[in-house]
């Protein structure tokens, strides 16, 4: 874990407040080469964490991107030194609303300042500095991770050789803000949320957070994937029960998604991180012109979207590509045919793997990064 202590610069947040001290928990895979030229930063999504390619300490499940990251994988840890930090505002070791507020000795709760994607990236910059790494070979991430990738590339172009924003957007759409608001209201409607002070009282807003997760989970899938996977199949019964128990497999599946999520995620963290996504608008910091956010960039971009992703649809990736074309940036853009919806970026998608592998290999050849670190 990286700790920015009281003897170091405070982290000034976009809101104007600052964190005098903060922690960033992170995992690394592979070896940093002598030239320190093979570092790859992986940015996780809303409910992800730093455990991209190792067994999760809480759930015991494989890392969320084990198909992508590892020896011989598209993000090859024999070749690259991979760093995956938990975001600021997260709940797996990095400072967030469930952390202890040094001023009170209690959990921050809603006293934690509202943070943004930029704040998350600034905390990562401090981590990368502390690791003694100047330039990152690549910054890669999907969904909210893709927002961090875009922010890195926009504000630190000289430190990012290659950027891979996947299934993401340069601003959070109205529909997506709407879904997030439903999730937050579900959390806050749970009496166990206790105005955000549930940790002090030994409570957990399980029902509210589970409903938030259930609603959000639908947006990560597609109509086609749901139909294919569940159809109208009954759950452990042969006929309708004429009750509100989980008659359908899809209900049972969502209930499971909701309840298992609660075991590994802090409810207030969910409020803060969804808010950070809502606030993201890369163009607003560039006088409304997205292309200006990337002016004179030398970074090589590989933008990826999925055909059935309706949360971050292809046209939002295309807006990024158009902005990059407007400044004649080096950009590749691939739309991958998949019926798995937004979640496709986390799943077995051979075309995604081939794209990321080819793009990184070509960049590594240009950078003279050898195949074994």
């Amino acid at each position: 874990m990286f700790r920015s202590g009281a003897d170091q610069e405070p982290l000034v947040l976009m809101s104007g407040t600052s964190l005098p001290t903060f922690d960033v928990a992170y995992q690394t895979y592979g070896t940093l080469n002598d030239a320190k030229s093979n570092a790859v930063l992986i940015c996780h999504a809303l409910t992800g964490d730093q455990h991209a390619a190792n067994r999760h300490p809480v759930t015991g499940k494989p890392g969320w991107w084990e198909t992508m990251v590892g020896p011989g994988k598209p993000i090859d840890t024999d070749r690259f030194f991979v760093i995956c930090p938990n975001i600021l505002g997260g709940c797996l070791g990095s400072t967030g609303p469930a952390s202890i507020n040094p001023d009170t000795g209690r959990a921050w709760g809603l006293d934690f300042p509202v943070i943004t994607i930029q704040d998350m990236v600034n905390a990562q910059v401090r981590l990368i500095d502390a690791l003694g790494i100047g330039d990152l070979f690549a910054v890669i991430g999907g969904s909210m991770g893709g927002m961090q990738v875009l922010d890195w590339a926009a504000r630190y172009p000289e430190r990012v050789f290659a950027a891979v924003p996947i299934a993401t957007a340069a601003w959070h759409s109205s529909q997506n803000i709407a879904f997030h608001e439903v999730g937050r209201q579900a959390v806050m409607a749970d009496p166990d949320w206790a105005d955000g002070r549930y940790l002090d009282q030994g409570r957990t807003p399980r029902r509210g957070l589970a409903v938030a997760r259930m609603a959000a989970h639908i947006t990560y899938l597609s109509e086609e994937a749901l139909q294919r996977k569940f159809g109208r199949n009954f759950q452990e019964r042969d006929a309708l029960s004429f009750s509100f128990s989980a008659d359908f497999q899809v209900e049972s599946y969502l209930r499971h998604q909701g309840s298992s999520f609660v075991d590994r995620f802090d409810a207030n963290s969910y409020l803060y991180v969804t808010r950070a996504m809502d606030y993201f608008d890369l163009a607003s910091g560039a006088s409304g012109q997205l292309s200006q956010a990337f002016s004179r960039t030398a970074t090589r971009f590989c933008v990826v979207s999925f055909t059935s992703d309706w949360l971050f649809p292809t046209h939002e990736s295309k807006a990024i590509v158009r902005a990059l074309n407007a400044v004649a940036a080096n950009v590749s853009f691939v739309e991958i045919e998949s019926d798995k919806g937004h979640d496709a970026f986390l799943l077995e998608e051979p075309e995604l793997f081939a794209t990321v592998r080819g793009f990184l290999d070509a960049g590594a050849r240009r950078r003279g990064i050898s195949e074994r670190a």
Binding site: C302, N325, A326, A328, N330, V331, S332, V334, R357, F359
Partner: protein, 210 residues
């Protein structure tokens, strides 16, 4: 690390070989309608260009990117407007102009985006085309025009003489132009193009704004 060895000369398309001669070392090149990326790869291997591609077919784009080329999915008619003026040293349109909806607008965009434009196209004035149309009274099917009229993506076929007319119409200047005869023989296009317009299967024009 294995060093990529460029394939031996001769295994490339004759028009690609010529374009590789026209392009300067280290140039910035946009290949519009880059297909499987063969030209971009040739230019990167032989000329160390900073190459980008646009391709309409998603499968081909994905294959290009997996191969390490910088390619986006897009189309010549609608996506060239995004690029700024003089963003590239060369804007290349290889055997694609006849498949665009608005060849004139596309050519003007090429000349705006690139300091120079390189355009190649199948010659509809080739004697085989003329012969088939004359004797059979049907749309010709040749090696360079392999599809039936109803399956062909080509919407605006032209002869070399027709293309020269378009070059004049947009106020561009021809720096170099070469037609390719049967077997890939080069037929430089000079003031009189009567012979080239009959013997050339396809042609490559290097253009710039006058």
């Amino acid at each position: 690390m294995l060093k990529r060895t460029p394939p031996a000369a001769g295994s490339h398309r004759v028009d690609h070989e010529l374009i590789a001669e026209m392009v300067a070392d280290g140039a910035r090149v946009l290949d519009v309608g880059c297909g499987d990326g063969a030209l971009l790869q040739l230019l990167e291997d032989r000329r160390s260009v900073d190459g980008r591609g646009i391709e309409i077919s998603r499968e081909r784009v994905n294959a290009c990117v997996a191969q390490g080329l910088s390619v986006i999915q897009g189309d010549a008619d609608s996506d060239l407007d995004d690029y700024p003026d003089k963003a590239f040293d060369y804007a290349v349109l290889s055997l694609t102009i006849q498949a665009t909806r608005q060849p004139r607008a596309v050519l003007e965009n090429l000349l705006r985006i690139g300091r120079r434009a390189i355009v190649s196209f199948p010659n509809f004035g080739h004697w085989q085309v003329r012969w088939q149309l004359l004797t059979r009274g049907r749309m010709p099917v040749t090696e360079n025009l392999p599809d039936t009229w109803y399956q062909s993506p080509n919407a605006h076929l032209c002869t070399i003489a027709d293309f020269e007319g378009l070059v004049r119409a947009v106020g561009a200047e021809t720096v170099e132009a070469v037609a390719f005869g049967t077997g890939g023989s080069r037929l430089p296009i000079n003031r009189s193009l009567r012979l080239q317009n009959v013997l050339g299967e396809k042609a490559v024009f290097l253009l710039e704004r006058a």
